[in-house]
Symmetry: C2
Subunit: 335 residues, 2 copies
């Protein structure tokens, strides 16, 4: 026992507790993590004192010794600005982490190199787990983290054979459901304002869309010039052009609320009215879309739940769970 008298203005460490209890530092450490080689009464005593003096393990110490950071990193690209669902994700994740020792670090990156933050985190081990979004079918970030054995969960699926934890929204089902709504209102010429090509949920959305049309005996119109990720001003301009075109659709499926608003805005500028000249079905997450135009048909997507699920999944993976068992496909909920 090499304990010095402890000055009590400093933050307590294991040494402080060791001094107060007359035990060794090692014993205190083991006691606090409920190690098997420590007597029950000793554990009680240590826990009591630790609680009384408000001991909190020094994260730098733990991290240096064990490599454990107690950090989950959420990687976001700056593109997503303005869409507001990030807040919901962040809160969902925070919620799930609040009862754990984990912290949430938000790591942004520009579109130029999506791999860079992932590589940085893995190489420097600056987090125990990663959450990424906007997955591509053959996402290099997923491949990389798998090859490195690094725990992660993705918002969105991939085509990669080896299973990984994910939370995804059933966009095929969304598209089919959307078409059902439009068909039931007598719409015949249905178009899709879908996600950008590169992202995997583009495929799900399109395949659901095509299947839905087939079931309804209709043929397809997919907007090629524009996707739901484009700047709102572009989508609006596209909408206006579309409204003036002769073979404009009378039904629209929109993969994002903001894109829907922008598109409607443009269509209205060309004199078309939602609910009359056309109907539109859109995903709704944060803001109630019906307050914008009550004629919009909405289908809910819950990003807070996504955040919660993703956080819990990464933690599970970190604790050795099988990624294959941590996959969730959320069913659209009509609103």
């Amino acid at each position: 026992m090499q304990g010095e008298p402890s000055p009590n203005d400093e933050r307590p460490t294991l040494k402080t507790i060791a001094y107060l209890t007359g035990l060794g530092v090692t014993t205190v450490s083991r006691a606090l993590k409920d190690g098997p080689e420590i007597g029950e009464d000793t554990k009680q005593r240590v826990r009591l004192i630790a609680q009384q003096i408000g001991y909190r393990p020094n994260r730098a110490g733990v991290r240096l010794r064990t490599g454990k950071t107690n950090v989950i990193s959420l990687i976001l690209n700056t593109h997503e600005e303005g869409y507001g669902f990030i807040s919901a994700m962040v809160y969902g994740i925070s919620e799930a982490l609040s009862s754990t020792p984990y912290h949430l670090v938000v790591t942004p990156h520009s579109l130029s190199d999506p791999m860079e933050p992932v590589r940085y985190i893995v190489e420097t081990k600056s987090a125990d787990g990663i959450i990424i979004s906007r997955t591509e079918p053959n996402d290099p970030r997923v491949r990389y983290m798998q090859s490195q054995g690094f725990p992660f969960a993705t918002h969105g699926r991939t085509e990669i054979e080896r299973p990984h934890a994910f939370y995804d929204y059933d966009n095929a089902e969304f598209a089919k459901e959307a078409i059902r709504h439009l068909v039931s209102r007598g719409r015949k010429k249905i178009a899709l304002l879908g996600p950008p090509n590169a992202l995997y949920y583009h495929k799900h959305t399109v395949s659901g869309f095509l299947e839905g049309l087939k079931q309804a005996g209709l043929s397809a119109v997919v907007f090629d010039d524009v996707d739901s990720d484009r700047p709102m001003a572009d989508i609006k301009a596209f909408g206006e052009k579309l409204g003036h075109s002769d073979d404009r659709p009378d039904g629209i499926v929109a993969s994002s609320a903001m894109a829907a608003i922008a598109l409607i805005s443009g269509l209205e500028d060309s004199g078309r009215k939602v609910g009359q000249d056309f109907d539109i079905v859109a995903k709704q997450s944060t803001m109630p879309l019906n307050w914008y135009r009550k004629e919009i048909i909405t289908i809910d997507e819950d990003f807070r739940e996504a955040g919660r699920y993703l956080a819990q999944s990464v933690l599970a993976v970190i604790n050795g769970a099988e990624p294959a068992s941590l996959q969730h496909l959320a069913k659209p909920r009509g609103a």
Copy 2:
């Protein structure tokens, strides 16, 4: 989640560089931080090798030794969900931090105890600086951080004498400008849907509002039952009730875009039309409000800029700058 064995060896440390250069670990450390007692050619050599092998300082090591975390903590309360401006703030902060070694940690808290996360971070020194929002006139968090000499910056001012870094939006000016717009459209009975009482910007908004009315020779109507922070459904309900009331206003100033949408939504349910029965001026941040109703009069607020400024300010405070010189009052920009 097991992967392939990691391809190359261990992560390089100072020891690695010391071995490669034949220098001592201390020398390498000093060289990399450009210490004065190291020869110029040695520095060059060390830097070169460090760069070649991709050396990155181990943050846990630095933190344990120096106490420096290289972390800025943004404290958010879960209430703010759905308002979407958080994304903008987060990106603004990230942008400012991207060229520095600092990371952004998002620390949420429930409304129950706003002090808890602040105390935790200060006590455990788990960040080098803190950013808080939604300040009260005599904000206990500010008092606490000041008393502890902890670097921070606030989104919003306080009444506290001792200066601290802040970024605030000139809500008094906003209200006055808003009234000018309304008066110029012949509105005579103007009401305010302002922020909650407890927050300091409530006072600024109200005083600007009252002054604006006085200049226009009008008298005031302030909604007492509702504020811009309330759930949107409540605001909408209030709007509907208001629309049916006999002494309803013909001009409205709204402190938040979402609140404005909710209120309009309610007023419309009671048969009132914006631009006809009433005009409304609202703050606009992420989404273009005119796409919702083109008659809304908007005044811009830039949260991304706020985030940037706040991040730069905390860093400056950390580096010893005078908080009094890090105060910014953003002027409203009419849109």
